[in-house]
């Protein structure tokens, strides 16, 4: 059965957007292929890796597991919406200072997920950080530097 293009109205990174998507598109496909926001990455495309993590209506989701058609009326925040122009967020700066990335594929997902953690819990324990980020996989840097970057962004002293 053929599917048709649909019109989706939503708010992305603070701006109202109206875009065309194929009815079968995931939010990840719509962001990358229809809207040109390629920050969210396709890793596993089945909800295991977290590279496509975005914030939807205040909660992080795997955008590969959201249909674009579901986003009608939603507020979406992606990694592109974190920095204000050249002004990185404290978390983004901490990722640079702690060298919390190597190849960078997982980084947008980690940043979106960790920003959501710090919004909900500004002073998380190491256990809470690791538990919250368990759905984000990194295959090169390892997790210690990422956890330290989140701790630094939370204003914690880093051992």
């Amino acid at each position: 059965m053929a599917t048709e293009h649909i019109v989706v109205n939503c708010n992305i990174n603070g701006e109202s957007q109206t875009f065309l998507a194929n009815e079968r598109d995931s939010l990840l496909e719509a962001l990358r292929d229809r809207i040109g926001l390629t920050g969210a990455k396709e890793g596993c495309n089945n909800g295991n890796c977290g590279a496509c993590c975005v914030n939807m209506d205040g909660r992080i989701v795997n955008s590969c597991l959201v249909m674009a058609a579901e986003c009608e009326g939603s507020e979406i925040r992606t990694v592109e919406g974190l920095a204000m122009g050249d002004q990185l967020t404290p978390l983004q700066n901490a990722f640079l200072e702690q060298a919390a990335l190597q190849c960078g594929i997982c980084t947008p997902g980690f940043l979106v997920a960790a920003e959501a953690l710090l919004e909900e819990n500004p002073d998380p324990s190491e256990h809470e950080i690791r538990y919250w980020l368990a759905g984000n996989l990194c295959r090169c840097t390892g997790y210690d530097k990422i956890v330290k970057a989140v701790q630094q962004a939370a204003g914690q002293s880093i051992v």
């Binding site: 059965m1 053929a2 599917t3 649909i6 009815e23 079968r24 598109d25 995931s26 495309n45 089945n46 909800g47 295991n48 977290g50 993590c53 939807m56 909660r59 992080i60 989701v61 795997n62 590969c64 597991l65 959201v66 249909m67 058609a69 579901e70 009608e72 997920a113 959501a116 953690l117 690791r130 538990y131 919250w132 980020l133 368990a134 759905g135 984000n136």
Partner: protein, 288 residues
């Protein structure tokens, strides 16, 4: 991705109609964390998603001391473990909903979806069984109610007929002196599928004897199991090393697992006993 169409239902009646018109290829969509993957990987033939999570009854949560707890089938996990009433009166639901997937999955995945996906290893279902959950089903012939332990019929299959979907799950208010616990064994700390899981609810009399109990084990049979023999080993006497060991033995006897990449038959049978014992002890701590 298969050529899937999308329709948003605003009422139970509209969802029933859309699913009926859509026929065999129509599937309800709540959090989508299983069904979108199944459509993409073509493990199910799906050509229509009927989005049911904008129906108030499907997303709500309601508690009263008279009628107990009702959770809409599409309510995401984080809105269950984050609910103050659930935390106070049904901490076993916090146990299970807080370890289904990672944070991003919990933002979408629902207990109703976990039930309808009907995996033998589902981490939501044993808790629903020991809480005496009743599943409210809507369909072309109206509504019906099925006990959770009768809902799954084989791996990935359940009692839902054509055009039917789960509206909500309901649980009695917890009786005084009762406590419940769910545990899962996985070889890492989080984000994995159960090798074995187990849940126990029990109620203690004032003299410390067990007035009532329910034990359920998962990932050890084609469906999550209610183990009546384990409960019988506990009821009518004080909790003791002997009665707990008898209940654990009953769970090992009930287990009928397969060997696969997650665990061997021998390990799963052993774990059914271990997790039964631990959930009994920890349910009793919560009951005290």
């Amino acid at each position: 991705m298969q050529a899937v169409k999308y329709a948003r239902a605003e009422s139970v009646e509209e969802a029933v109609r859309l699913l009926q018109e859509g026929g065999e290829g129509a599937r309800p969509l709540a959090g989508g964390t299983d069904v979108i993957v199944q459509a993409r990987e073509r493990t199910r033939d799906i050509d229509l998603f009927v989005d049911i999570k904008h129906i108030p009854e499907l997303i709500g949560i309601d508690y009263s001391d008279d009628s107990g707890l009702t959770i809409g089938a599409a309510r995401p996990c984080y809105q269950i473990y984050g609910d103050a009433t659930v935390q106070e009166k049904y901490p076993i639901l916090v146990d299970s909903t807080s370890l289904i997937g990672g944070t991003a999955i919990q933002g979408r995945a629902s207990l109703g979806g976990n039930l309808c996906n009907s995996s033998p290893a589902a981490d939501g279902i044993p808790s629903l069984i020991v809480l005496e959950g009743q599943v409210e089903i809507a369909g072309p012939n109206g509504r019906r109610t099925v006990p959770v332990e009768d809902f799954c019929t084989s791996p990935g299959r359940n009692v839902l007929g054509s055009g039917e979907f789960v509206v909500s799950m309901s649980f009695p208010a917890p009786a005084a002196g009762s406590g419940a616990r769910f545990l899962r064994f996985i070889p890492r700390n989080e984000m994995d599928i159960a090798v074995t899981n187990a849940a126990t609810q029990l109620r203690l009399n004032g003299d410390g004897s067990v007035a009532w109990a329910r034990v359920s084990i998962g990932a050890v049979a084609p469906t999550p199991l209610l183990v009546s023999d384990a409960a019988e080993a506990l009821v009518g006497r004080p909790l003791s090393e002997d009665s707990i060991a008898a209940a654990a033995a009953a769970s090992r006897d009930a287990a009928n697992p397969i060997d696969d990449m997650r665990g061997s038959i021998r390990q799963r049978v052993h774990l059914a006993g271990v997790l039964t014992e631990r959930t009994i002890r920890q349910a009793a701590e919560r009951a005290a």
